[in-house]
Symmetry: D2
Subunit: 443 residues, 4 copies
């Protein structure tokens, strides 16, 4: 890979509705990161979407006038040959699987969500074997490529990849810190560039430990603002519940939107049950949104990423990914928030665990910063979710019913081991087609 020869990127799950954003990202950064080939790969079931997205991408490239060729293919191995970067944004079982992930737990009165709790566990169980398979192909066809994983649950999937794959050039990316950064800057009424934030935690459980404006620590002011219901940081896919003022002050850290699942479990559950009963869980909403998006994408007149895409929770995901790629290509050594092996960055978590922290990113990849001690009151939750993630990764790889039960039962959003087993059985049955490792005869 050199800048002069141009970069080859392969996107697995290329038929995703997020692809136009990625394409936009490459177009915008073409000067610094001359991507010459973008291979969009999908599976047979996604063939039609792939072609719609591919055609739109070609129109976008043409309009922008950059020298970037878009390939669409179902042949993953062929696409991977000599790639510099592989990005993954797939969804095993599509949105229908996500609907199951959300509705079965809710039916039993517990939180059903894409990346947390019982739903997140099943998304991981379906996804991890596919990602490991991709990593195996990368070892064969493009061993020097970086695998940039956006697939959720991104932290857990990255944990599984770094633990069980021979390919170790893996980076997990998430738009949550990016969006927090943006929201906090706008809340403070300052330029994004003047704000810097120390992030430490796990994916979807990351804290802003310090917020600086022009080098001054303004964390307390941010916490004060955040407890204002009007200001509550929020994501598209999470109800913008306000935080208790005294609680935030005592916490002393900026929570991410997903922390509500753990610190406001009761209220979130009530919201979700309301959506469940009205048939409007997030997955169901998204499914409708996606259908609309693809209708837009088909229009021959569309030559840019449509603004409607930003309604999705994953907005800016690709911005984050493009930034990583740019820093590697240009050996920038700037700070970004990524999912990487801990290596002592968060002292309270195991050295080999995947964490989400500030890293510097250069040609040989990301190096985490040493974040120093986190306050005692968050050690427990972080360790609990990390315990869960490591057990879940093991379950996904081995297809062990026992490990899957354990993962489910120790998750803080699943309040009973007997109930855990009931939900587990039901979800295993519902997702059987995508969980061969649990149903193989030779086991």
């Amino acid at each position: 890979m050199t800048k002069k020869q141009g970069i080859k990127v392969v996107t697995i799950g290329g038929g995703s509705s997020y692809t136009p954003e990625l394409v936009e990202g490459f177009i915008k950064r073409y000067e610094q990161v001359p991507v010459r080939e973008l291979w969009l790969v999908d599976i047979e079931a996604g063939h039609q979407k792939l072609e719609i997205v591919g055609a739109l991408a070609r129109r976008m490239v043409k309009k922008a006038g950059v020298d970037l060729t878009i390939y669409t293919t179902l042949d993953r191995k062929k696409a991977l040959q000599g790639a510099d970067f592989v990005t993954t944004q797939l969804r095993v079982g599509l949105l229908d699987a996500r609907i199951i992930d959300e509705r079965i737990p809710l039916q039993h009165g517990i939180i059903g969500q894409e990346t947390n709790g019982a739903g997140g566990l099943f998304k991981a169980l379906r996804t991890i074997p596919v990602l490991l398979d991709i990593a195996k192909d990368i070892v064969t066809y493009c061993p020097n490529a970086w695998l940039i994983n956006f697939t959720n649950p991104a932290g857990l999937v990255t944990e599984a990849l770094l633990r069980y794959s021979a390919h170790q050039k893996v980076i997990g990316v998430c738009n949550v810190p990016y969006n927090m950064h943006q929201s906090i800057a706008s809340m403070l009424g300052v330029e994004k560039d003047s704000v810097s934030i120390d992030f430490a935690g796990l994916n979807h459980l990351v804290f802003g430990t310090h917020v600086y404006v022009d080098g001054e620590d303004v964390t307390d002011a941010v916490l004060e603002l955040l407890s204002d219901p009007e200001m509550a940081l929020s994501m598209k896919n999470i109800a913008p519940l306000p935080w208790g003022r005294t609680f935030l002050k005592a916490l002393g850290l900026v929570p991410c939107p997903y922390h509500r699942y753990y610190y406001q479990t009761k209220k979130i559950l009530e919201e979700e049950l309301r959506a469940f009963h009205s048939g409007h869980t997030r997955a169901e909403v998204v499914k409708t949104l996606e259908t609309e998006l693809f209708q837009l994408y088909e229009s021959e007149d569309l030559h840019v990423k449509p603004p409607q895409l930003e309604q999705r929770g994953g907005a800016y995901y690709s911005d984050v990914a493009c930034n990583v790629i740019a820093s590697i290509v240009n050996d920038t050594r700037d700070v970004q928030v990524l999912n990487v092996r801990n290596n002592g960055s968060i002292r309270e978590l195991p050295e080999d665990a995947v964490v989400e922290v500030n890293c510097i990113v250069g040609k040989h990849g990301p190096t985490p910063l040493s974040m120093g001690a986190l306050p005692i009151h968050v050690h427990g939750l972080l360790q609990q979710i990390k315990s869960y993630e490591q057990v879940a990764a093991k379950a996904a790889v081995t297809g062990s019913y026992e490990q899957a039960l354990l993962a489910m039962a120790i998750h803080p959003l699943v309040p009973d081991e007997e109930l855990a087993e009931t939900v587990l059985k039901e979800m295993l049955a519902a997702h059987k087609a995508y969980l061969p490792q649990f149903f193989s005869e030779t086991k």
Copy 2:
């Protein structure tokens, strides 16, 4: 202290209904541990009970024919002079406070229990300042004495003592491992002495990591038996809910009865709500029991510990305490399960945290054994409760509303920070008389 001169023991909270068991313990062990003076100390509010218990103790001693003088006094400082051991078994606010600890949380739909969750937090907030005060007197009047704390939540109280007191000769004791040992032996149909168990965890959250019979590892067999509903290990004060067979197998460790609060939260809560609505929470049941016990104790014809005492959850507590005293006096260096500073015994918990583990006990006190690695799937829960305990101890010592809210909100049995604040405020108001640190004017 030498065996020849005889031992002086001071029991703070001497008017407790448990005292006859302690007296029985000293009588039984008189040959090895010649306790010559037992000072029962209580406060004005407990004066009458103290005298009833003191009189019974004197009758017991007389009947046994041992040279042991029983003193009853309200003057703690006088009692402490030159003591060898101080035991603490007090209950700040008596059972009425416990009723509040149980009922207020249940009123808000969350678990209300003596040592766990919101109730346990408030018991700690009331108790810790009193214990620190006792420890201060010990430094003045008997600095070489060992403080043997039975007062619940015993682990958290011991954590607070070792963290905030100048007196460091402190040991926390609990009857849970003792009872587990006994129950497992009887379940296996073997002598208690042939069973040995590696215990590691926190107080009321301790695991049997290995069970041996005559040196053979029988842990798997024990787990198999434990999932038999007939066999379910149980304590008087916890519903004997069965454990899931696959769950126990996957867990790979013997849980203690209190683990049900965390692994069977939903079912325990349902049970408790039933008791709540019928006006028979555990505290209410115990209060009736205690009234009956004191009626028995008053009888001049009673010269022994009455068997009804064993109905209490704390049965055998004093056996455990007497064993520790015997091992210190005789430099026995045998293995006992105690609450001590971790010192690397459980590698996954902070070095300075108080843990409940196998120790050897000799004249210079307890030394924990190195328990080796615990499985990843329990790190989270242990760390979470330890985080809570350290925040709770800080709240108790400082009287900080913020820290108290934090302790409440991060406890896994309190599922919402807003609810946490509601319950906190209500309980602070209800217990105001016993929480001066939160209401002092100079704060």
Copy 3:
């Protein structure tokens, strides 16, 4: 293994001059540990010695009138069948190799010693592959047997076994703590039983961190006595150099005799060079002593262990080993000082490193005690020797010249990497016959 059936012990290196002590040990403890079969195993080169020792052992047993059969054999595999305990006390290359280990380094002006520095490294390189081979046979012929290793350097050899062998029931024993215990008691003029010592460190680098007499801490008094030149703790094989009074006080720990190699390097080296030039290095002295011992052993009139054996540095080694065996057989759970996997016992050393610490020993083997924090001023030396041991073990197993050089060069008694290479080359050549792993053609 049950006490009733009787115990089978196999001693590899049975022709050693130490064997009579081991036999005496089994005879003395026959009531508690009924060893019925003792198999003395040696190699062809030691055949004659084996028969001399075997005959003496038979006379000892006969005289004692116990039911213990002595077998002598060169067939290791046959001997191992169904063994309960395997003890190893072999010396690859015999005393001639030790003479080389001592003389080559001294020739280059650096310390040459049996278990430390360049000499100790080569003893390890010769010994470890043989021990791993024995461990392999144990897996095949008696997988439940405990391997009790006395072979020096005992800590490093145990490190290698626990790191590279499939057989994990391995305990390293050494007489240094035993002798320190005895010497300290006699120095204090009290019974050995009334003294207890907390030992923590590495083999031949173990500290007494606290000395108690009847539970009272007398460490300071012991340090004071130890700086009296008349009292200097000493071993047969180390010059009894006095310790500086202020140094010992500042150290705050009781050093073992071998600590002189590190804290008195200069003086020890001068002593050794004197012995070197006069042709009386320790190995040369021992060789003469051993010839005399075997002359004694041959006498048909000898029916007991001759007192001359106690002139050897290894005296009481077998006492230590017999104690371990007795505690395992009888599930005694008493405290002994052994070389075991750290497991957090010494927090400053890696969890998986072999350390020498107080352990309790019962039927399922030894469990180390948590020794708490060691003072900062000894972390460095301990870590340095442990680093060396782990590199040395790797060199022994792989036969890597680079790793051997690294082990030599980082050892604190080898003050130059170039010199390290010179000595390494010379010693590799001199010991070629016993270091096949470094000279195999296929490497």
Copy 4:
């Protein structure tokens, strides 16, 4: 401090011969870092030198035409008022003290050196109290200032400051990594900017763990080159002894020049003894050099830093310091190698130890990168020097003879505790005037 208002820098030890370099640094970077006031502070004994240097500095500034006022003063407190940065480059006892530091140890046959071994210890004992005093003044007069310490032994002094001072905005700087970076680039024949190096270790004991050229790992090639005697990395103040080729390969890390003291002790000692006997120890050479420098500085015709200054070992020190200042002022967040609190950056060293590692530097100071695991074979040496440093810092602060002896005796370059005490006593006597803490009457 804002760029607009201009920066105020105070240099303690302003009369140092290094000052012209610092001034040159500020002139070169005036655009990015507008230093408007530079206060050169010295003590009475250095008055004359201060004025010579001050006059030269003023000529340099005038010639460069920048708006920077040079102040010279003996009144430290006045100078510190409102400072943004304080740099320290003092030498307690001047070069005469250094001559003693070098000659007394050599007289006893052990290494005598400015920052290592017995000499380094005494430099630390003299320097630390003075630095703590300066830090105290900073707390009073300019609490927001960063203290940039160049005073040797820079790592140990920074350790003492961060451990014992209330002022925590302290950064230790050293030119060794800077020079290594430069030398390696020139050895490889590439631009300095295309080389990046991961540095991890302690001051004067730092390793290059990976060397990258344009993101490609070329560490092995660098090690190969380094074992070429022609190429041997070297510093002005260390003999350019070649490294063994196999040793370097086995080490797998790029040593710094000072590593020779530990890996080539014998040869370095021989060199030093030669210099000692000829009266040309490094301190003596430097003293002559310095006299010559001041003669140059006095010339009214000199308006720039004279090239002869680069003969000194400390060349580029001020470049390093200016870079730190520039990154803080401009919130650059670029990577620099600094002495900071570990915070998990080097997992094998204590969290609160000062280490020398890659950091990113922005407005709120330096944050270390997580360097990942270092190979086992360097843990020992690093821990040993860190143990020594922490004991030495304690000795310097407390004036404890025992701690000073301990620091001396555990240092790997002092091979005997008795000798340690002899040298200690002699050096204490020789440096008495500068070690009031060891001679105060009230002790």
